[in-house]
């Protein structure tokens, strides 16, 4: 979280498909944050279509994206990437069932010099991506943990 400065409002984008079990992890983080009154940021839910993401983060300084990933790590693991420094490891991002998804949106933004100066991606390792609703227990725990961390650190909200 150290690379998220406190100088500007944070745009938090949760990505996912609510009908693919753990694919919804990013959406659920966004919903956790939406339930609270946030003075220091905006929270959006997205399906993962790339051009919509580009439009959303265009002009923003501080952006946090949360998405489900599948890398073979322990379910519920939280991965962290700084998009400004390196391209994302594309194959692990589940939203890439979109022909033009998060990974492409980042790289096209970079090619057009429109990448937010501070774009941080959190990937929650999923376990079950079959069709259906509801998160695996480990993923649900990670969603709650990450939402709390984002609320306290990135969004700078007071606890309690």
């Amino acid at each position: 979280m150290s690379d998220v400065t406190q100088s500007a409002k944070v745009l938090v984008i949760g990505i996912g498909n609510a009908y693919r079990h753990d694919d919804a992890a990013g959406l659920m983080v966004a919903r956790c944050l939406k339930e609270q009154t946030l003075s220091s940021g905006e929270v959006h839910e997205q399906a993962g279509e790339g051009t919509a993401l580009m439009e959303l983060w265009k002009g923003a300084e501080r952006v946090v994206v949360v998405d489900a990933v599948q890398s073979g790590a322990v379910p519920g693991s939280i991965h962290h990437f700084n998009a400004g420094l390196h391209p994302l490891p594309a194959p692990i991002f589940r939203d890439s069932t979109h022909a033009f998804g998060l990974v492409e949106a980042i790289e096209l933004s970079r090619a057009l010099n429109q990448l937010p100066s501070n774009l941080v991606i959190y990937g929650i390792e999923g376990q079950n991506f079959d069709v259906g609703t509801g998160l695996s227990a480990a993923v649900l725990g990670a969603v709650n943990d990450l939402a709390e961390r984002l609320r306290q650190e990135a969004l700078g909200e007071k606890v309690g």
Binding site: E45, M54, F100, V103, E104, L108, L112, V131, G132
Partner: protein, 442 residues
Amino acid sequence: MRMLSRSAGKASSMKTKTIKVDYLARVEGEGGLYVKVRDNQVVDVKLKIFEPPRFFEAFLRGRNFAEVPDITARICGICPIAYQMSAVHAIENAFGAKVDGQLRALRRLIYCGEWIESHTLHVYMLHAPDFLGYQDAIQMAKDHASVVQRGLQLKKAGNEIVTLLGGREIHPINVRVGGFYKVPARSELAVLAERLKWAREAALETVRWTASMPFPDFEQDYLFVALRHPNEYPFNEGRLVSNRGLDIGIEEYENNFTEEHVQHSNALHSVLKQHGPYFVGPMARYSLNFDRLSPLAQEAARNAGLTPVCRNPFKSIVVRSVEILYACDEALRIIAQYEPPERPAINVPVHAASGCSCTEAPRGILYHRYRVDEQGAILDAKIVPPTSQNQKVIEQDLSQFVPKFLTLPEEELGWRCEQAVRNYDPCISCATHFLKLEIDRG
């Protein structure tokens, strides 16, 4: 899961060859194509779909009819409006309700928004790189930044229509059986109109730009199927017609079309009885409804070198561009004539019934049928998406197309095959449903 991971088998001899493409790039969803070549003849083509089919049909059972538009909107992140439109019209047909006047016009308007969004995404980000020799839109943007920016802004014009009328951009929630939950004020549409005037010019440029691309000489005698309305380019209403004499009401759909299970795919293949594979989508719609396009769209098509019937699937990128132009033009016409209706929705009498509908999704006809009980609970649902209807035609195209390029290196041949699949803008993730592509030269 989408990234291209193409493994091309080495030719073991000049007579047999295997090309395998594990994942189709730049199509919506996951898909595989398998092409088998023996003695320089294509002997088998299989477009594979692996997604467990029919999940949503089962998921809808027992739900109240009022939930159906919101649930079906989540089948596809690219064309949620199409699913909502087919759903609400099918349920209204079941209950004997008819939405007309300004509410009907607003439904055409929101569909215009989705066509603009979906077609622009495909034309600029997915299909154009094929013709201009780039691996993807990111590489293309490095040389053609202003063109890519135009595409992004054009798509945004569509997004804004869907966001205003749909309530939000993804998984719109404002569409309901009987109309909308809330209708816009004239002033809200006036804001949209300003951007749409720019978008119409950008769409005209898009038609010119795509028409200048190089197209393979590849025409097929397709069986086109689309909706046809007495005086409109079709969105939500019309009879199902073909270029070989089909002319039926939607209620006759299941008597004329049938779905076949094939071993290599989880998707069901649709065929027209006694005729076989058929072609749905922009090129079918255009070729069966050229005379229903606005004068501006007709003129742009002619100036782009298109004839009123187009049989070259590679030129579908131009046809999509013409449809973007039409959608901008039609949206502006609807906005100019808009008067807010007295109520955002009509009353719909609930009773045990069944009903069906077919609307023109960006990728082609989307059929829905529902049976509900006296409380309005869904007893069963049937959804036939456009990509599963086009699947056999895509395979036929590849059978005809691949022999022309057998002398190409494996990597380039695989790319050519993917390009041929992308002509159809297949939406594998929503259709029936994930698909995969692979090719084999033995």
